[in-house]
C-alpha cells in the first residue's frame, strides 16, 4: 500500500491529557498499521466548536478556521486536511463552504488573516478521518491488517449528530447511516443493527449548560443500546464519547439505572483488531473499562 499523507487537525480535545487524548492515541496506532502519515498542521487553533457562536459571531469564527487553512496551505501544500473531531470537521467544512460561496466573506476573512501575516487562497479540502478510512483505504483495506477479529463482541454504532449532519459521509443517509456497523463487521465484531438511537443528539455542549435536558438524551442513547443487546457503544465523535461515558454515573444516581456500558472510538476497535496493546488502543483512558476488548489485547 502506498503511503498516504494528510494535514492533520487533531483539535483541542485530542491534546495530551485532554478529554479525548485516548482518541488520538488510538488514531496514531491505527494509522501506523494502515501506513497513513498524519502531519499536524503547525500551530493550529481551536475551531470555535458549536457554542462559539454566542460570543464569537460569524466573521471571527470564520477567521479562526481560515487560519488553520492558511497554515495548512503554506506548510503542507496539496494535502487534504483531516480532522478526527466531529466539531472540528464541521466547523472547518462550514467555513470552507461559506468562504467558497461568499466572496465578500472571503475578502473580510483575509483582511483579518492579514493581521496575523497570513493569507488563505481557497485551496484546501476538509475531510473526516472516517471519510479517509472509507473512501481512501476502503473496507478491504480496513480489513487487511486484522489479526485479532473482534469475534463475539456486540457493538451499538452510535454516530451522533455532527459526523452525520449536515454533511455526513457520502452515500449514507442522515436517518440511518450504516458505515459504522459495516466497520464493526469488517473488524469481525457484531453490529447491533436494531439499535435505534444511532443518530440521536447527546446534548452536545449543552451537557454543561443544560445537564438535565442532556442527560435525558444520554439516558435514551444508552438504554436503547442495552435493549439492542450491545455490550459496548462505538462512536466517531469525541463529545459523544465523553457525554455518553462520563454522565452514566450521574444518570444512575438520578434515574436509579445501572448503566455501566463502555463507550469506544472506532479507532480503538481497529487498533485492538490490528493486534495493538491496551495502551496503544488508549483503553487505559476509559472511565468505564472495556474489559472484553482488553481481554483480546492480552490474547
Amino acid at each position: 500500500m502506498a503511503k498516504k499523507e494528510y494535514a492533520f487537525y487533531p483539535g483541542c480535545s485530542s491534546q495530551l491529557k485532554a478529554s479525548a487524548s485516548n482518541y488520538l492515541t488510538s488514531v496514531n496506532s491505527m494509522c501506523e498499521k494502515l501506513d497513513v502519515k498524519l502531519t499536524e498542521i503547525p500551530d493550529w487553533n481551536c475551531c470555535g466548536a458549536s457554542v462559539g457562536y454566542a460570543e464569537g459571531g460569524e466573521l471571527p469564527r470564520l477567521a479562526i478556521n481560515a487560519r488553520n487553512f492558511a497554515l495548512a496551505e503554506t506548510h503542507l501544500p496539496g494535502q487534504d486536511i483531516v480532522a478526527t473531531c466531529a466539531a472540528c470537521w464541521l466547523g472547518s467544512r462550514e467555513t470552507k463552504e461559506r468562504l467558497d460561496h461568499t466572496s465578500q466573506l472571503m475578502k473580510e476573512t483575509n483582511e483579518a488573516l492579514a493581521a496575523a501575516g497570513l493569507n488563505y487562497k481557497g485551496d484546501v479540502n476538509i475531510r473526516h478521518m472516517v471519510e479517509v478510512l472509507i473512501e481512501d483505504i476502503g473496507y478491504d483495506g480496513i480489513k487487511k491488517p486484522v489479526v485479532k477479529p473482534l469475534e463475539g463482541l456486540k457493538f451499538a454504532g452510535y454516530i451522533g449528530c455532527q459526523t452525520n449532519r449536515p454533511f455526513g459521509i457520502a452515500g449514507e443517509s442522515f436517518e440511518n447511516p450504516k458505515y459504522l456497523d459495516q466497520m464493526v463487521e469488517t473488524l469481525g465484531g457484531e453490529a447491533m443493527t436494531s439499535y435505534d438511537q444511532k443518530v440521536t443528539c447527546c446534548g452536545g455542549a449543552l451537557a454543561f449548560s443544560e445537564p438535565e435536558k442532556s442527560q435525558k438524551q444520554i439516558k435514551d442513547i444508552i438504554e436503547s443500546a442495552y435493549d439492542s443487546g450491545a455490550q459496548m457503544l462505538v462512536t466517531p465523535c469525541p463529545l459523544c464519547q465523553a457525554n455518553t461515558e462520563v454522565y452514566q454515573s450521574e444518570i444512575n444516581k438520578k434515574y436509579g439505572t445501572k448503566f455501566n456500558m463502555p463507550v469506544l472510538y472506532y479507532s480503538q476497535l481497529m487498533t485492538v483488531a490490528y493486534g495493538g496493546s491496551i495502551k496503544e488502543a488508549g483503553l487505559d483512558g476509559q472511565l468505564i473499562r472495556a474489559e472484553a476488548l482488553e481481554k483480546i489485547c492480552g490474547k
Binding site: C12, S19, A54, E108, T109, A112, G117, C161, A205, Y247
Partner: protein, 207 residues
C-alpha cells in the same frame, strides 16, 4: 437600551425582517420558510422551546422584534443539525438560530443568566485566550459562574467524575497554570480583533 440596539430600532423602524436579513447570520433565508413545522418536530430539545424555529420565523415576519430577541428559545439549540437536513426548503435553520442568539446577545437583549448564553461566552473567551480550549479552566469557570458556594457544591457533586478523568489522563490539573496554547498568540489575537472590528462595523455594533 444599548446604543447599538437603539440605532437598530431607528434604522429599521417597523421592518424587523429587513433587520434580520441585514444583521443576522444567514438571515436572508428567513423568508423562505413555508411554515411546515418539520423543524419543530425534529428538535431533540423541542419540548423546551417556547417558540419553535417555525414560530420564530413567523414572528420575525410579523415584526415581533422584542419577543424574538429576548426569547430563550434559540439558546436551546444543541447544534444537532436535524432541522437543517430535514427542512424541505433547505433553510440553514441551525445557523439562523445561532445568528439570532448572537445578535440578541450583542444587542444586550438575550435573557440574562441564560445558561447556554453564559457557557457559550465562557467557551469563546476561553479559546481566544490561548488559541485553544483549556478544558480545566472552562469547567471550573462554568461551575463557579454563580459564585463560590455554588461552585464548590457543583464541584463536589462532580468530584468522582473529575477524579476519574484525571486518573484516565483525560483531565490535567496542571492546566490551571496555562496549558496548551498556539505559539503565535500575538498574531492570533490581532486576527480575532480585526475580525471582530469588521463584523461590528458591518452589523452596527459600533457607533
Amino acid at each position: 437600551m444599548t446604543t447599538a440596539n437603539q440605532n437598530a430600532v431607528e434604522r429599521y423602524r417597523n421592518n424587523f425582517l429587513k433587520e434580520v436579513e441585514a444583521n443576522v447570520e444567514e438571515g436572508d433565508m428567513v423568508k423562505m420558510c413555508m411554515q411546515c413545522g418539520v423543524c419543530a418536530g425534529s428538535c431533540p430539545l423541542g419540548p423546551h422551546w417556547e417558540h419553535s424555529p417555525q414560530k420564530i420565523f413567523m414572528m420575525i415576519r410579523a415584526g415581533k422584534r422584542e419577543e424574538v430577541l429576548s426569547s430563550d428559545s434559540m439558546w436551546m439549540c444543541t447544534s444537532c443539525y436535524n432541522c437543517i437536513v430535514r427542512c424541505p426548503r433547505q433553510l440553514p435553520i441551525t445557523h439562523i438560530m445561532h445568528g439570532l442568539a448572537n445578535y440578541a446577545h450583542r444587542l444586550g437583549l438575550a435573557p440574562k443568566g441564560q445558561p447556554t448564553r453564559e457557557f457559550g461566552t465562557l467557551f469563546w473567551n476561553n479559546l481566544v485566550k490561548k488559541g485553544r480550549v483549556n478544558e480545566l479552566t472552562l469547567t471550573i469557570g462554568h461551575y463557579f459562574k454563580d459564585g463560590i458556594a455554588a461552585g464548590i457544591k457543583t464541584g463536589l457533586a462532580m468530584q468522582a467524575v473529575g477524579l476519574g478523568m484525571v486518573k484516565a489522563k483525560r483531565l490535567n490539573p496542571m492546566e490551571i497554570f496555562g496549558g496548551h496554547a498556539v505559539k503565535d498568540l500575538k498574531g492570533f489575537h490581532a486576527m480575532v480583533a480585526k475580525a471582530q472590528e469588521i463584523e461590528a462595523k458591518k452589523k452596527g455594533f459600533t457607533a
